[in-house]
Amino acid sequence: MSTCVTASAPEPVFSEPWHAQVFALTVHLNEAGRFAWPDWAARFSATLKRHGLEKELDGGEDYFQAWLETLETYLVEEGSVLPDEVGPVKQAWEEAYLTTPHGEPVVLR
């Protein structure tokens, strides 16, 4: 990080696109009534606490890693996503990226 924080351009709100995606997904699910925010926060803080035992979290990438892990676990527990459902879809996305010519939009087939 720059040492000249005050004089630099504003920091981006999300440093990686997937940080924004997982954030929006969680807010959307909450607003759609899938879970209450305090329940989410309690689970998320438990994940952060567990991860923080292994290393000091810097609040960047590791923060959103913990966020994603919490969401994946929560969705399986409350039944929106089946335990073995994610793997194949993730694999399909990976194949889509690897077989889509550079510059073309990547879509699931």
Partner: protein, 204 residues
């Protein structure tokens, strides 16, 4: 191996967590539990429309209008909702006022609860273990790291946010700002001054 050379034959493979998020989105969209357009809308709101400028507007108004300030300190949730700033997660907002005797700062020791409608997404340091642990244990040292030195007469109070209650600090109005408009005052209000880890800018 990162492959970022432009002559690569296929699209750049996103990192593992990005693919996991895409998988969740696909599954939930297929089941009709989410709407991808809503996801884009939420990202746009937090990336472009909500940020510390909202909180700065509230602070500048409180500095300019004593009746507004009194209402804000009594029931911030209702007052900021009147300005169009809603807590989308149903949280309550509480505004605490800095005085010459007491400086206030905000932390979330639990995770990263933060007054999103007024300040947007928190900066990385707010979410770090270092800040979350040290703000409570040694607030004066943390403030010193941020370049804030308080007088000996001033005490420090640390407010621990929760999923239900989010705090915003009302900093002291800087000297020499008599006669400034609300818009000019809002320019002086920094994000960190509303978290309590900074002070407002002084007019040049």
């Amino acid at each position: 191996m990162p492959h970022d050379h432009s002559d690569h034959p296929h699209a750049l493979l996103p990192p593992d967590p990005a693919l996991r998020v895409k998988a969740l989105e696909t599954i939930l969209t297929r089941k009709g539990l989410i709407d991808p357009a809503t996801l884009d809308e939420i990202i746009d709101i937090y990336q472009n429309k909500i940020g510390p400028q909202n909180g700065a507007r509230v602070v500048a108004k409180a500095w300019s209008d004593p009746a507004f300030k009194a209402r804000l300190l009594a029931d911030a949730t209702a007052v900021v909702a009147d300005l169009g700033y809603f807590g989308r997660q149903g949280e309550h907002m509480v505004v605490v006022e800095n005085t010459p005797e007491q400086h206030n700062m905000v932390v979330c020791t639990l995770c990263s609860c933060y007054p999103w409608p007024l300040l947007g997404i928190p900066p990385g340091w707010y979410k770090s273990d270092a800040y979350r642990a040290r703000a409570v244990r040694e607030p004066r040292k943390v403030l010193a790291d941020f370049g804030v030195t308080l007088s000996d007469e001033s005490s420090v109070r640390v407010w621990d946010s929760t999923a239900e209650v989010r705090y915003l600090i009302l900093p002291m109005r800087p000297a020499g700002t008599e006669g400034l408009s609300e818009e000019e005052l809002a320019e002086l209000v920094t994000r960190d001054s509303m978290i309590g880890t900074g002070l407002p800018k002084v007019p040049s």
